[in-house]
Symmetry: C2
Subunit: 129 residues, 2 copies
């Protein structure tokens, strides 16, 4: 998959998430997808995202930095959101927080096969002090 | 800077860190470098790394994933180390922990000008339970 096509596919994937277009998630995510070492599969991946939106009703994925090196994509995503209740074990309780997630993706057959993602928990903690 | 040269430069930078070769850090790091939004400059960057080695005597940077998309490099680094005392606000106290750092770098004139890095604090917390 060439670099340009991979970037377009990744941006379309982020649009799919922001539209909560779960019917089309399978266009972007492999049936056997892994996420941070866990074998979620497409159904588990969709369930994870639906749970994210349940906990964070104003969830929106913003691409801040993108590095495309086929078959890998690396993206720094920025969020400015108000999670309900406990988030990552922190009592956010509806407070507006801004944080980033640095994520790596391995693509196979134009779809995400593996994700290694880290959320900047320390920055959220600092906003709750 | 072409992709191949940028990858070689980045790998040489990691070797420089692993050798604690602070005399040559300026070959890889810009005088006005920023790190997670803080203007450290080369001297502050070196001081940050020296403090890291002071706190983590067996610190070693292992490249797990690398995406090179000039002028950006994205790297997932893996650590298997024994920090002394408190680390990221966690009472690690000399316990061996394994964790990753997902980092993005912006290069300018063959040197790192900006770093946006996130350490997987949640995975360290899970190892201390």
């Amino acid at each position: 998959m060439n670099k340009r096509d991979l970037e377009v596919t990744y941006r379309d994937y982020i649009t799919c998430l922001n539209n909560q277009d779960w019917m089309n998630l399978g266009q972007f995510v492999y049936d056997d997808v892994l996420h941070n070492g866990r074998h979620l599969g497409l159904d588990g991946y969709r369930a994870m995202l639906e749970a994210d939106y349940e906990q964070i009703p104003d969830l929106h994925f913003n691409i801040e930095l993108l590095a495309v090196d086929s078959p890998h994509v690396a993206c720094r995503l920025r969020f400015n959101v108000t999670p309900k209740g406990s988030f990552l074990g922190l009592a956010v309780d509806g407070k507006k927080v801004t944080f980033c997630e640095n994520a790596f993706y391995l693509f196979r057959d134009n779809k995400i096969q593996n994700v290694w993602s880290v959320i900047d928990k320390s920055s959220i903690e600092a906003q709750l002090d």
